[in-house]
């Protein structure tokens, strides 16, 4: 990947909405679904995977500057169905799904609605299930920077991705992401009441990853995913917050590559 993934941005229409995506690398297909705070330009984790896989990283429609939202979209399941359409349109029949945080919820929905089309399922700090203790951190109550900082254990790791003083464009992008989250995941906030029973249908082997210091999604969500998915393994990444792919990209890339290679 000489030029990095950023050289591979394309766009296609799905359900009347333009969907931007980055596609790079060669090998078995891996779909990476990003966090609720958008898709950062610097995607070391995706680049690492693209060394051995055909990596597809779409930007959730309506998440960020220049990403047109689907006015009709009302649930995270709608987004998952849209992505099923994206994969079909690109001729990707069966793929490994890697969902990061909010994207983990999307991946879990995609896996449960079409179990035969999932090669491997990787959920990293996945939202989507109601924790039995505590709550998924509610961005409606905290500032933009505070929320994004809560994704990291180490402030330096946040700075490395977003800068010590995130730009005003970044703030605006976070507000747009936040609005889209509200549009599709307001109530109940960031979880589904109908996903858990459907996870039993997933046939693909699953890797459930959780940052040991995740301050956004309680560890119980990972425990529930690991218990509900029929063939799942739980891995905890030490010294890491919610955004494992951003704070420990090399560790996550190795975990995922090993898991896919098993």
């Amino acid at each position: 990947m000489a030029g990095g993934c950023e050289d591979y941005w394309q766009e296609t229409g799905v359900a009347g909405v333009p969907v931007r995506y980055c596609r790079c690398g060669a090998g078995s297909p891996v779909v990476i679904l990003h966090h609720d705070i958008g898709c950062p330009d610097r995607a070391a984790f995706a680049e690492a995977l693209s060394a051995s896989h055909d990596v597809l990283m779409p930007v959730h429609p309506g998440f960020g500057l220049g990403s047109e939202r689907a006015e009709w979209m009302r649930s995270v399941r709608d987004l998952a169905v849209l992505y099923r359409g994206l994969l079909a349109g690109l001729g990707i029949g069966r793929a490994t799904l890697v969902g990061l945080g909010f994207g983990g919820w999307v991946a879990a929905e995609m896996a449960s609605m079409a179990p035969a089309d999932v090669d491997r399922l990787v959920l990293v700090g996945a939202m989507g299930l109601q924790p039995r203790e505590g709550f998924i951190l509610d961005q409606a109550l905290v500032g933009y920077i505070d929320y994004a900082q809560a994704f990291f254990k180490e402030p330096a790791a946040f700075d490395a991705v977003y800068g010590r003083e995130p730009t005003n464009d970044q703030l605006e992008a976070w507000d747009i992401c936040r609005e889209m989250c509200f549009r599709i995941a307001w109530k109940p906030y960031m979880y589904s009441q109908t996903l858990a029973p459907l996870l039993g249908s997933v046939t693909a082997p699953a890797l459930v990853v959780h940052g040991a210091d995740d301050g956004v999604v309680p560890a119980d969500c990972a425990a529930q995913y690991a218990a509900a998915l029929p063939d799942a393994r739980l891995e905890t990444v030490a010294d890491c917050g919610h955004a494992v792919a951003l704070e420990r990209p090399e560790v996550l890339a190795r975990l995922v590559q090993d898991f896919i290679g098993e």
């Binding site: 409606a140 109550l141 905290v142 500032g143 933009y144 920077i145 005003n168 703030l171 605006e172 976070w174 507000d175 747009i176 936040r178 609005e179 989250c181 509200f182 549009r183 307001w186 109530k187």
Partner: protein
């Protein structure tokens, strides 16, 4: 001219130091500091103020509601409206207003308002608002659909008031299998709807399209004029010429028999550090999706502490200078109000008489002087300036009931 009295109903006995310590006096500032003994006393004092306002000849009582904050004790404006419907004889009960998007069943709201209208023998003015950002969070209502819910709930309420039931309503946010309320308004075609607001251009445009009077909430003279320009332009497009009967204005005015005391009490308009909706995190007052996308950049920069509040934040002295706060004896207050009337030409005027810790005695003095000295003078000025209220102008309730619409100017050319 329709002349009203307004109070925010401040929960003035909360420990201010606790608010400062917590860093907020809204949404998440704990209600452990709400003392119901004080609350009971204050609610009854406010009721006493309203009854006195009628006694001294004030035309209307303006009511509102807010949630989770000491700046306003009314958690449901319809409750005070219902009390006043039964306890008063003449005053208009002017609700500015019911926050429509917070309602999960607007038909129930239509029923409550119809009851208030009937009990008051047709004295209801039923204003509607979007509700503040914090209200959406307090009520768990999606801020991203605020405006859609506002417009759709309005349509449902008006249909429930004007169409014979039963009928079915299938909206985007509201679906009602059987709309058939056995409570309909006394006033026909339906009670007057006035729409208050501060900065949202979309709301001004919507009000003008409906031909509903817009009530500018304590805006500066310059901003008020801009609001009327927007309103008037939309009105012409819609086929009517807007006038004083389409314009309302709320202003903070404290009247006393003593200039110094008036100014001292007027400082209470800036209680809670001048944040009249309380100290709060910007993302609470403007949750994502609540505000117009055109304000997005300004709000995110404000939220990150990188620019001043786009809603403006000025000192007490500057507000006095700008005539957004007026304080004094009737002799000094009336000429200042005259200037506002001359410059902005409203047909509806509400005086927000007191706030914060102003004593009940001083509040009652203020109401007495407004009713017996200030408003009689304002009525004379209004006659001289030909400022007619919607009632005096016999303005249609809405555009749908207008019989004087002209072809839009552009089309006529």
């Amino acid at each position: 001219m329709h002349l009203m009295y307004f109070t925010e109903q401040p929960m003035s006995t909360y420990p201010a130091d606790k608010g400062l310590e917590f860093g907020a006096t809204a949404l998440m500032f704990s209600n452990r500091y709400f003392d119901p003994v004080d609350g009971s006393r204050l609610y009854n004092e406010f009721l006493e103020q309203y009854l006195y306002a009628e006694e001294v000849g004030i035309d209307g009582i303006m009511l509102n509601e807010h949630h989770n904050a000491p700046f306003c004790m009314q958690a449901k404006a319809n409750i005070f409206a219902a009390i006043l419907a039964g306890m008063t004889e003449k005053v208009k009960i002017v609700m500015l207003g019911n926050p429509l998007p917070l309602s999960e069943n607007p038909v129930r709201l239509a029923e409550e308002l119809a009851m208030i209208d009937m009990i008051s023998k047709g004295r209801l003015v039923s204003g509607f608002v979007r509700g503040g950002g914090q209200e959406q969070l307090a009520a768990g209502v999606n801020p991203a659909y605020n405006r859609e819910r506002f417009e759709e709930a309005h349509d449902l309420v008006v249909r429930a008031w004007t169409e014979t039931g039963p009928f079915r309503f299938e909206g985007r946010h509201y679906q009602n299998r059987v709309v058939n309320p056995w409570a309909v308004p006394l006033q026909k075609p339906y009670p007057r709807v006035w729409v208050p607001g501060v900065i949202s251009r979309e709301t001004i445009v919507w009000a003008a399209e409906q031909r509903y009077p817009y009530i500018a909430l304590n805006t500066s003279i310059a901003d008020t004029k801009k609001i009327w320009q927007t309103y008037d332009d939309v009105a012409l497009e819609a086929g009517y010429e807007a006038g004083p009967e389409n314009r309302g204005y709320l202003i903070q005015v404290h009247v006393s028999d003593n200039e110094e005391k008036a100014i001292e009490n007027a400082r209470q308009f800036r209680w809670m550090q001048g944040e009249f909706t309380g100290l709060a995190h910007p993302v609470w007052s403007t949750p994502s999706g609540y505000s117009s996308p055109r304000n997005r950049r300004a709000f995110v920069e404000f939220a990150a502490g990188r620019r001043a509040n786009p809603r403006g934040q000025t000192s007490f002295e500057q507000q006095m200078e700008d005539l957004r706060i007026i304080a004094g004896t009737p002799d000094t207050v009336v000429p200042k109000l005259r200037r506002i009337l001359e410059e902005t030409r409203p047909g509806i005027l509400a005086l927000w008489g007191n706030d914060g810790t102003v004593s009940q005695e001083d509040s009652m003095t203020c109401i007495r002087m407004i009713g017996t000295e200030v408003f009689p003078a304002i009525r004379e000025i209004a006659k001289e300036l030909d400022l007619k209220s919607p009632f005096e102008a016999e303005a249609p309730v809405s555009i749908r009931y207008s019989t004087d619409l002209k072809a839009p100017a552009a089309a006529a050319e």
